[in-house]
């Protein structure tokens, strides 16, 4: 009897509270599997954000913090400076958290070359508060605070965090991935593993942006939401490596 797939022990038994089809669950699993495969339980501390993944501390089976909205990179900075390079410190943040209220904290964590990994889940909307416009909301996309669709004239163009952070001299590794199909899920896991490895090697700031669906607040079925992500999000937020100092 061989086990082809089992739930990693780096996830607790707690059931995810996420809506059906939400990609947070897939991304949680990838992070947890990488922690497990790299034997990092006992050597890692995670920081949960405010947003849909506010309860991430209940799901990752390791020491966890819950940070104030947008402040996870600052909290992770404090942790990392205290525990040192032998412990892997990661934040898990959504686009409202990271790309809006927490822009100062993420920019300066990157700017200091803080030796942390940020998992940035971009679903182009505020999920937890019920579907408001995010800085990442696409032009024309409807949200409860842009009911007729986002316009460039009023709200500007959607912010591209990976491209922006890749410009910061001290950023070490920035990649944008998606989990819309099994091939991309495998690539996403590889990127997360690379970021965690870089950190354990004492390298600088790493961020993996993961494009994610939000079926509930997009008003689509989980399967339709994947199509929408492929047709709308990936063209505006191209997947790929935006910075990899090791490869440079």
């Amino acid at each position: 009897m061989a086990v082809l797939f089992e739930k990693t022990k780096l996830l607790t038994d707690k059931q995810f509270h996420y809506c059906p089809g939400c990609h947070h669950g897939i991304i949680h699993r990838l992070v947890a599997e990488v922690l497990d495969e790299m034997n990092l339980q006992g050597k890692c501390i995670g920081v949960a954000p405010v947003g849909c993944s506010v309860f991430a501390y209940d799901y990752f089976n390791c020491d966890m913090y819950e940070a104030a909205h947008g402040r996870a990179p600052a909290v992770a900075t404090g942790i990392k400076r205290a525990v040192g390079n032998d412990t892997m410190v990661f934040t898990y943040q959504g686009d409202g958290d990271l790309a809006s209220i927490g822009t100062a904290e993420i920019v300066h964590a990157a700017h200091r070359g803080e030796k942390i990994v940020t998992i940035f889940v971009n679903n182009a909307i505020y999920g937890m508060t019920g579907g408001q416009m995010a800085p990442t909301t696409l032009i024309g996309q409807k949200a409860s605070t842009c009911p007729t669709g986002r316009t460039e004239e009023w709200s500007g163009m959607p912010i591209k965090m990976s491209e922006m952070l890749a410009q910061i001299p001290s950023s070490y590794y920035i990649e944008r991935v998606a989990v819309n199909n099994t091939a991309n899920i495998a690539k996403a896991k590889k990127a997360i593993a690379k970021a965690f490895r870089y950190q354990m090697e004492g390298k600088g700031f790493c961020m993996i942006e993961v494009l994610s669906t939000c079926p509930t607040n997009w008003g689509l079925s989980p399967v339709e939401a994947i199509d929408w992500l492929e047709n709308n999000m990936i063209p505006y937020y191209p997947l790929g490596v935006y910075r990899d100092k090791e490869a440079e």
């Binding site: 082809l4 995810f16 809506c19 059906p20 897939i26 099994t182 399967v223």
Partner: protein, 72 residues
């Protein structure tokens, strides 16, 4: 030759999102037509286990990590 792969879906934890249905290359998963779990969802079911090739695409796509796969 009989198929030795066994896919176990934790029906009570399944939210019926159907991402596994979409991911399955053999098209042997569907949402139950007869069952509704305590959460109120129609859980995913494997309709033809014999045809399963053990690719684990369903499990790797499942956002709720409710699929367990073994092979004899």
């Amino acid at each position: 030759m009989s198929n030795l792969v066994r896919v176990t879906i934790n029906e009570e934890r399944c939210k019926g999102c159907a991402l596994c249905v979409r991911a399955c290359p053999k098209k042997i998963i569907e949402l139950s037509k007869t069952k509704i779990n305590a959460k109120g969802y129609r859980p995913a079911e494997v309709t033809n286990m014999e045809a399963c090739i053990g690719c684990t695409a369903c499990a790797r796509t499942c956002p709720d990590v409710v699929i367990h796969i073994e092979k004899d």
